[in-house]
Amino acid sequence: MARFITTRFLQALLSLLVITLIVFSLSHLTGSPIDALLPDDATQAQIDNLTRELGLDRPLHVQYFTFLQNAALGDFGDSTKWKGSSAAEVVIDRLPATLQLGGLALLISVVVAIPLGVVAAVRKGSSIDAVASVIALLGQSLPAFWLGLVLMWVFAVILGWFPTSGYGGVTHMVLPAIAMAWFQIAALTRLTRSAMLEVLDAEYIKLARVKGVSERAIVWRHAFSNAAIVPITYFGVLAGSLLTGSVVIETVFAWPGAGLLAIDAIRGRDFPVVQSVVMFFAVFFLLANFLVDILYAVIDPRIRHQG
């Protein structure tokens, strides 16, 4: 397993290196930050000044290596928009909010989707199965921002059950988390259901039945533990799409997380923050996938024992 983990880790590092290159070139392709950072009536002197200050006058490869060196230390430079803080600080400041929301969304999706998918598979063709497939379909048919606004109107403005938006306690998180989880519930339900269906067909399930194992134990101990590998693999993707989804949901719900930050930073052409937020997202994604790989090995002895 140590070797398995080491290779996965090295692969992730390699990916990260390539990502730094992409991130760097992207933010430098997206146009000069000068135009966003200076006033309408800025003089040429001001423009030159800022260019020098941001190091934009140096050759590109020099800029990249400096970037890489500093990035390795978690230093992406000072934010140009949030003056007075380093880019990493700004992101780290906002990351917990995103993780809270993403975490709750993940929790909701898992809590709803896994049992639903399992039951739908076990009772294939039943009304629960039908409900599950309707949920799965609806989940993939609504844009998250739209759903978010509708939820806000119905449950916050009209019914007043939850706050409309903003940062705060769990009640503030409920609506955005649901809007965020919606699509994931759909995907996860489908995935769990089909994985379960496949596993329920397996011979070892038949063996468990013939040895007198109760239905509940068959479903959860034997079938689900095997089927779980599929949804678990999906958690990596899920982590990624939760982060991506945070961009939209955080905008709608004025949730001060990294997604909202990313948009502000891009609009404000705050290179350092853009770079640092994308890198954080990528690291988070790779980390999530790395953990999934490990989890995978922990669950499945076949992987644990292989090279």
Binding site: F145, W146, T244, V278
Partner: protein, 269 residues
């Protein structure tokens, strides 16, 4: 096939014949008829689904919007599937270094937050149809590559491939005549299931202001634009939203159905 019917009615016919069936020019602003409600909600038969804040006919815009939904889906998915399939085939068939490199690239595209990428690119070049297509390709190709690679890995070990080798078939011939035809179903099913993803993605990009540029009546843009008036003039975003919902719903049903028919083994991806 209900789903097919819905698809044809909501998407295909409008996309092909919008010019004939749309009651109005989708770009024409009847400035005197701004924000007219739909028929049965106080509106008239002139604007069955109401008008937007410039007085453009919602129905006509939705009908014309089908063109964009269809063309983004088709172009984006075709290209995404082509890129993904080609690379997936190479990775799965050659294995070794090529495989490692391609799969790493897939990992990387998954790791990069696509929306942020799109935002960054949009600031560079301004939003455009091409950008939306690019983002679509970027988002979906990896799924194709992974799936195709996995199947190619299995197929290349299949006895019929060994038999083809015994018969002296070249690698290219094996890929073309033995492996590709056997993954076409998977690709078709996967492509169908991506249509929903693509339409939603287009809407999301529009919400962020980097979708298809206005005044094009792309569905996503219609929904995104109408969201401000979701309370009083709900019809502006509701009907395009409904069109998206119906399309995605029926395409997914169709995909499920195709999967059952063509490829029962394909996992939900």
């Amino acid at each position: 096939m209900i789903s097919l019917t819905i698809l044809v009615v909501v998407l295909v016919i409008p996309a092909l014949f919008a010019d004939l069936i749309a009651p109005h020019d989708p770009y024409k602003a009847y400035l005197r008829n701004r924000l007219e409600p739909p028929l049965f909600f106080g509106g008239t038969t002139e604007f069955i689904l109401g008008t937007d804040r410039l007085g453009r006919d919602i129905l006509s815009r939705i009908l014309h919007g089908a063109k964009y939904a269809l063309s983004i889906s088709i172009v984006g998915i075709l290209l995404g599937a082509a890129v993904g399939t080609a690379l997936g085939l190479i990775a799965g068939y050659l294995r070794g270094m090529a495989d490692a490199v391609i799969m790493r690239v897939v990992d990387i595209t998954f790791a990069l937050p696509s929306i942020l990428l799109a935002l960054a690119l949009a600031t560079l070049s301004g939003p455009s149809f091409q950008l939306v297509i690019f983002v679509v390709i970027f988002v979906i190709w990896g799924y194709f590559a992974r799936q195709v690679r996995a199947e190619t890995l299995v197929l290349r070990e299949a006895d019929f491939v060994a038999r083809a080798r015994v018969a002296g078939a070249s690698d290219l011939r094996i890929l073309r005549k033995y492996i590709l035809p056997n993954i076409v179903n998977t690709i078709v099913v996967l492509a169908t299931l991506q249509v929903g993803v693509v339409v939603i993605l287009e809407a999301t990009l529009s919400f962020l202001g980097i979708g298809i540029p206005r005044p094009t009546p792309a569905w996503g843009l219609l929904v995104a634009d109408g969201r401000q008036l979701i309370v009083s003039s709900w019809w502006i975003s509701f009907f395009p939203g409904l069109a998206i919902l119906l399309t995605v719903l029926s395409v997914n049903l169709l995909g499920d159905w195709l999967r059952d028919r063509l490829d029962p083994k394909l996992r939900q991806v």
